[in-house]
């Protein structure tokens, strides 16, 4: 580890904290219908859309209606995308003449982009036509908004009292597209193009290398796709190797812009949350707990990577573990990016996670297994954290001698039931599917590395699916039917097992009276509660994976340091 590396990570964290408030205030203006500088342009457009779609702006929805609207919206997105992929060969904008995408892969990809997972079982530049890439990009605009809408509804549930409705999904959707997604990704794309990413619709270029070989250089609307890919925490990059590809992140500056784009909405939402509940300390506490876990992860990973591989050291090769890393990024920036991609759940990578040191791999797994709550993607990260906050309040809240309450709302049997459900299902799916994979023929066939590393690969795939992360460890035959279907299911469960209970909680809380704060109120702000929240995430959320992690990255780590390796490789 170098001082510069550590400082760089700390400065980056400081930047994130600094942008939380302005972003949060902007979101507050957008969703609380206050004035923004975009109103003169967007408001007429918004009205026009409602008129065309027949949406009554002021009509609010119950939690079930809100959920059904999201479900319908997602279902249509899925069907359209699936259809386009299946008949891509017959459609225009296909200069590389790619064939139709097969049914397994189409299902997997359509689910993946609908759920904001962006798990890529395909290589973009070798599978998808420009039209298909554009259709993927449409989902990259739309799928994060489902998550964002969820948190808007959930926060309304927490703040309104004796009410029944949680807002109007179509309004939340439209305002997000017009005020947030479009303007930011437009500016973002311009910046990324200025920093060197290509943006065109032309055919791939054929180059003749110095050795005389012919090489096809892929290009296309990279800048524009990358902007929304990062901003929406989607992660489905234009190129198979994502930010590791020089066209996706040509420079360190470009990579930093992408990092900040990815973090902006999730950190801004924490401030927005505090603003809406009329106590910004609440938002800062949540962000503080998230940042503490994020920084711990980034620094531990950086330490492990910088320490390097002891087996190579025995051979006289000292220095950081550079396998699978871009030389231009180095271990510090790579560690920061890989921690971010798993923590914020965007899922595009700048390094090969499969080649991280076992402890580095452990951090990526931890970030996803804890429920993608360490910052997390649009809305869902904060939502998961608030579900943990509810659990923490319930576990420890009784200790102050009152029925536990969060932000004045009593946490009772129904909320506990739903929060427990939201916690149980992801665990079941990750462990169940992983157990199936490592004991079935189909699952074992796709594992390229035997031993503990193989288990890590399997655990990673399902954690990434359930967490709607989308990044891949690698080393796994993700395009094999076994994994396209199981990971596809994992993505669906991960998304909807979270949506339904969360909205149900919101639907129950919104009807409750709010208990005014007093000296007897359990404080849900400050370092004490932040610490409690972290402990709950670690003990209740992540430690249940301890036996699995012991057999995966931990076993590998200790074996590695005692000079033991697990042979083979496909």
């Amino acid at each position: 580890m170098t001082v510069t590396g550590v400082l760089g990570i700390l400065v980056f964290a400081a930047v994130l904290i600094a942008i939380a408030k302005p972003v949060g205030l902007y979101l507050y203006a957008v969703y609380d219908q206050r004035r923004t500088f975009l109103d003169p342009v967007m408001r007429p457009v918004e009205r026009g859309i409602y008129r065309l779609a027949g949406v009554r702006e002021e009509k609010e929805m119950s939690w079930l209606e809100y959920f059904l609207a999201i479900l319908a919206f997602n279902l249509v997105g899925f069907i359209v995308l699936y259809g386009f992929l299946r008949i891509q060969g017959a459609l225009p904008l296909n200069p590389a003449h790619f064939k139709d995408v097969g049914p397994h892969l189409s299902f997997n990809t359509a689910v993946s982009f609908m759920t904001n997972t962006n798990w890529q079982a395909y290589g973009g530049e070798s599978t998808m036509s420009y039209l298909s890439q554009t259709m993927l990009m449409v989902q990259q605009f739309l799928s994060p908004i489902s998550g964002l809408a969820m948190i808007l509804a959930f926060i309304r549930g927490l703040t309104r009292r004796n009410a029944h409705s949680l807002g109007n999904f179509w309004v939340d959707l439209t305002r997000t597209v017009l005020w947030v997604s479009l303007p930011v990704s437009f500016v973002g794309a311009m910046v990324l193009v200025a920093l060197g990413s290509p943006q065109n619709w032309g055919p791939y270029v054929t180059a003749h290398t110095l050795q005389g070989a012919r090489q096809s250089i892929a290009q296309g609307p990279v800048g524009m796709m990358n902007a929304i890919m990062q901003f929406g925490d989607n992660g489905g990059g234009f190129f198979n190797m994502n930010a590791g590809h020089p066209y996706e992140a040509p420079t360190i500056a470009s990579l930093m812009v992408q990092l900040i784009l990815g973090f902006s909405i999730p950190v801004g939402l924490t401030y927005y949350f505090g603003k809406v509940v009329k106590d910004t300390r609440q938002g800062w506490t949540i962000l503080g707990a998230m940042m503490a876990m994020f920084l711990a992860g980034a620094l531990v990973m950086y330490h492990a990577e910088a320490l390097g591989n002891p087996l190579l050291a025995h051979l006289g090769i000292h220095g950081a573990n550079m396998e699978g890393k871009e030389v231009r990024f180095g271990p510090a920036l790579s560690s920061l990016f890989e921690t971010s991609t798993t923590a914020v759940s965007w899922g595009s990578t700048a390094a090969a996670n499969d080649s991280l040191m076992p402890i580095g791999g452990l951090i990526t797994l931890f970030n996803m297994m804890s429920g993608e709550v360490i910052i997390g993607a649009w809305g869902v990260g904060l939502l998961g954290m608030l579900a943990f906050a509810i659990l923490a309040v319930f576990l420890a809240g009784l200790m102050v001698g009152r029925t536990p309450e969060y932000l004045g709302k009593k946490i009772q049997a129904y909320e506990v039931k739903m929060a427990t459900l939201a916690m149980i299902v992801p665990t079941f799916v990750i462990l169940g599917l992983s157990a199936w994979a490592v004991t079935s023929k189909g699952g074992l066939a796709g594992i390229y590395n035997p031993g503990p590393h193989g288990l890590s690969e399997v655990l990673y795939a399902f954690s990434s699916g359930v967490g709607n992360n989308g990044s891949a460890f690698g080393g796994l035959d993700a395009a094999a039917p076994f994994y396209t279907w199981t990971v596809g299911l994992a993505m669906l469960f991960g998304r909807f097992a979270m949506y339904i209970p969360a909205l149900a909680i919101a639907g129950s809380l919104v009807q409750k009276q709010s208990v005014p704060e007093s000296a007897g109120t359990f404080p849900t702000h400050g370092t004490l509660f932040g610490g409690l929240l972290i402990a709950t995430v670690v003990i209740v959320g992540a430690l249940v994976f301890f036996p699995a992690l012991a057999l995966g990255p931990l076993a590998e780590h200790f074996a590695l340091w005692s000079g033991h390796v697990f042979g083979g490789g496909a």
């Binding site: 576990l395 149980i424 199936w436 490592v438 057999l551």
Partner: protein, 685 residues
């Protein structure tokens, strides 16, 4: 035997041995099903026992030894939990037994339709029947006195041996079945059907027959069941993972890990905590009609306290005579004395005392001869005496001046000033007049109960708003409110304003607690979230309340709030402790499970436990014995101090959260040392 005598019996040897027997009886799976956490442990115990038998048959002595010990400790875990529950229940059962002995079959003298009296068994009385009860007889069922006055021995229920007076009409008209009339004869209208009497309800409550889970208990049970379910899946998935990794993990070790991870500590102690909370209330002579009410007591944010009796001594004392300018103080004092000689109220007596102290008057009621005494009524608002042509009156600052004007007199301008001054000081002004002349004002002072200030401050620190209810005017009320430090007051309170006040607080999201006794308190009691009715009160009040205070002590609500909080705190503390314990257990068992296939994992054996077998056994033993070790705490409850929630949280998080994290590391290590020293299992690493 009364409830009081039973207080110290909880941990006596007979109670313990009875609870041990009960712990075995509770092993019946049909009973265990009620508690999913402990049911899983029981199922695990059965499987490990079968595994042990299989190993015995196979002749695998070493593994048999290990498995048998695990099985034994798993069974003990279940038994310890059952024991805790049985011990808590045992306390209640002894109390119920004592009560049941008073509910002997009594014969009642029922008044027939034609006025004739017939003897019927007490158990056949129904609502509306009327019975006659004379001295020496036991009141056959709950009812309201409709005729007569009697002294009643209620010790069977309250444990208080001094008899109480019960009389028709008024707030002391309720009588309870099972109590004994000591003198006189009363006619009682029955208000409860057989099986629904106060005593019946009390017995069934204590026995737990109707003990339903409280809302927080239900929510916690869901969470515990959810955690248990998660760990079942974790353990089920661990087996395929170990097969993939080439590790051989026996079912016994998997079950041991499962039992250690699921929240057995709180799972085993949860019902004991609830039952003992109810018992603690009973020990303070409070009977809660439901567990829900006790829990609500912990949640109360606003409590209404009657000024008289709760905040101030029941009676006001005369402390000063304030004569009008042209009146001598002794003249005023004499008139006040004369008008009060026949006044048996404490206020009247205090006037007599003060007058005698200041001017050595010697008159006694006998000197009054054939004087006509006017008693104080709510309508006239004054009392007085007509004696030897003198018309002496004392009363409120409205009624007495009205009387003087009626007599043709005029009011001295100083009077109003004095009345206001006394009111502002928190006193009650009593105006004294003779004929058409105002003589002066008596200053009746409210005496604040010693220690009440501190108790109210404690409530404020706990975040509870206190509201004083009084019939006084707002000025007087404000002064007393400031003096004792209540947050708000409701002056000139009527049943309607009380009800309205409660509703308004509830609309703002507060839970309201109050104490009441009279029939006119019933609407407010029914509306309040925690309503403590005094046992001495009317049947209507008792029906409306969700708790009955057998001591009829107005400050009991404060105790009830504390007990309610204590139950919640104890439950939360044990839950946090239980969950935090998991960390150490992971570190004990996980390396032990897999060290054979991945020797490097020995590095995670941070407690340096001797061998895999000793590690697993030590964790299981720790998990088992922590339950009986915490039984005293579960029965007694975690101490509650009235400080802010932030401080309580910090303290309890340090003790039960951090303690729960650290203690098992130490405990498991110590047990491992013992296991190693005794060579209980294979010590081969």
């Amino acid at each position: 035997m009364s409830i009081h005598e039973l207080k110290s019996q909880a941990l006596s040897s007979s109670a313990v041995s009875q609870a041990i027997g009960e712990a075995f009886r509770k092993l019946n799976p049909r009973w265990m099903m009620h508690n999913p956490v402990m049911f899983i442990v029981e199922v695990g115990s059965v499987f490990t026992t079968l595994d042990a038998v299989r190993l015995l048959i196979e002749g695998n002595a070493s593994l048999f030894n290990f498995t048998l010990q695990i099985a034994i400790w798993l069974w003990l875990t279940v038994l310890f939990a059952n024991f805790a529950e049985a011990l808590a229940e045992g306390r209640g059962r002894a109390q119920a037994q004592a009560l049941r002995s008073t509910r002997t079959e009594t014969m009642a003298r029922k008044i027939g339709p034609s006025g004739t009296i017939e003897a019927v068994p007490g158990t056949q009385l129904r609502v509306g029947d009327r019975v006659v009860v004379a001295a020496g007889e036991i009141i056959p069922s709950d009812g309201t006195i409709i005729e007569g006055v009697a002294s009643v021995d209620e010790s069977a229920i309250t444990g208080e041996s001094a008899p109480v007076i019960r009389a028709a009409s008024g707030d002391m008209s309720a009588v309870t079945g099972g109590t004994r009339v000591l003198s006189d004869q009363i006619t009682v209208q029955i208000t409860a059907n057989p099986g629904e009497t106060f005593l019946d309800r009390m017995i069934s409550l204590i026995e737990g027959a109707v003990r339903q889970k409280t809302p927080n208990e239900i929510a916690l049970a869901i969470l515990l069941a959810g955690l248990t379910l998660i760990f079942v899946v974790v353990i089920m998935a661990t087996e395929p993972f170990s097969i993939y990794s080439g590790a051989v993990v026996s079912m016994t070790v998997l079950i041991a890990l499962l039992v250690c991870l699921i929240p057995t500590t709180i799972g085993g102690l949860m019902s004991a905590i609830g039952i003992s909370g109810m018992n603690r209330l009973l020990q303070r002579n409070v009977l809660a009609m439901s567990g829900r009410a006790i829990e609500a007591a912990g949640d109360v944010n606003v409590i209404l306290l009657d000024k008289t009796g709760t905040i101030t001594m029941g009676n006001r004392m005369a402390t000063e005579f304030v004569p009008m300018p042209d009146v001598k103080e002794s003249t005023l004092a004499e008139a006040a004395l004369l008008s009060s000689l026949s006044d048996e109220t404490p206020e009247g007596q205090s006037i007599v005392r003060l007058a005698r102290e200041r001017f050595q008057f010697t008159q006694t009621p006998a000197d009054l001869g054939n004087a006509e005494f006017h008693e104080f009524t709510a309508q006239t608002q004054m009392s007085g005496i007509d004696f030897g042509g003198r018309l002496i009156r004392k009363g409120s600052s409205k009624s007495v001046p009205a009387f003087v004007k009626e007599q043709g007199g005029s009011l001295p301008p100083e009077m109003d000033g004095e009345v206001t001054r006394i009111g502002r000081l928190g006193g009650t002004p009593l105006v004294v007049a003779e004929g058409d002349r105002i003589l002066g004002v008596i200053y009746l002072k409210d005496i604040v109960k010693p220690g009440i200030r501190e108790r109210l401050q404690a409530l404020r620190d706990a975040g509870i708003k206190t509201v004083m209810i009084t019939g006084d005017n707002p000025v007087t009320a404000d002064t007393i409110a400031k003096e004792v430090g209540v947050d708000d007051f409701l002056a000139q309170a009527t049943p309607e304003t009380k009800l309205a006040y409660i509703k308004q607080e509830q609309a703002e999201g507060y839970l309201v607690g109050m104490v009441g006794d009279g029939t006119n308190d019933s609407p407010a009691l029914a509306q309040a979230d925690v309503a403590v009715a005094m046992n001495s009160g009317t049947q209507a009040a008792r029906e409306a309340g969700n708790m009955v205070d057998l001591d009829s002590s107005p400050t009991k609500l404060l105790d009830i709030v504390e007990i309610g909080k204590q139950i919640l705190i104890t439950r939360g503390a044990m839950t946090t402790f239980s969950v935090a314990n998991d960390v150490a257990k992971y570190f004990a068992i996980i390396p032990a499970m897999f060290v054979a296939v991945f020797p490097g994992l020995e590095a995670m054996n941070i407690m340096h436990l001797t061998s895999p077998e000793s590690a697993v056994l030590s964790a299981v033993i720790f998990n088992a014995i922590i339950i009986p070790l915490l039984i005293p705490l579960a029965l007694r409850g975690v101490r509650y101090r009235p400080v802010g929630a932030a401080v309580i949280l910090r303290n309890n998080l340090v003790v039960y959260g951090l303690g729960g994290l650290v203690l098992p590391f130490i405990g498991i290590k110590l047990i491992d040392l013992v296991v190693t020293a005794l060579h209980l299992v294979s010590l081969h690493p």
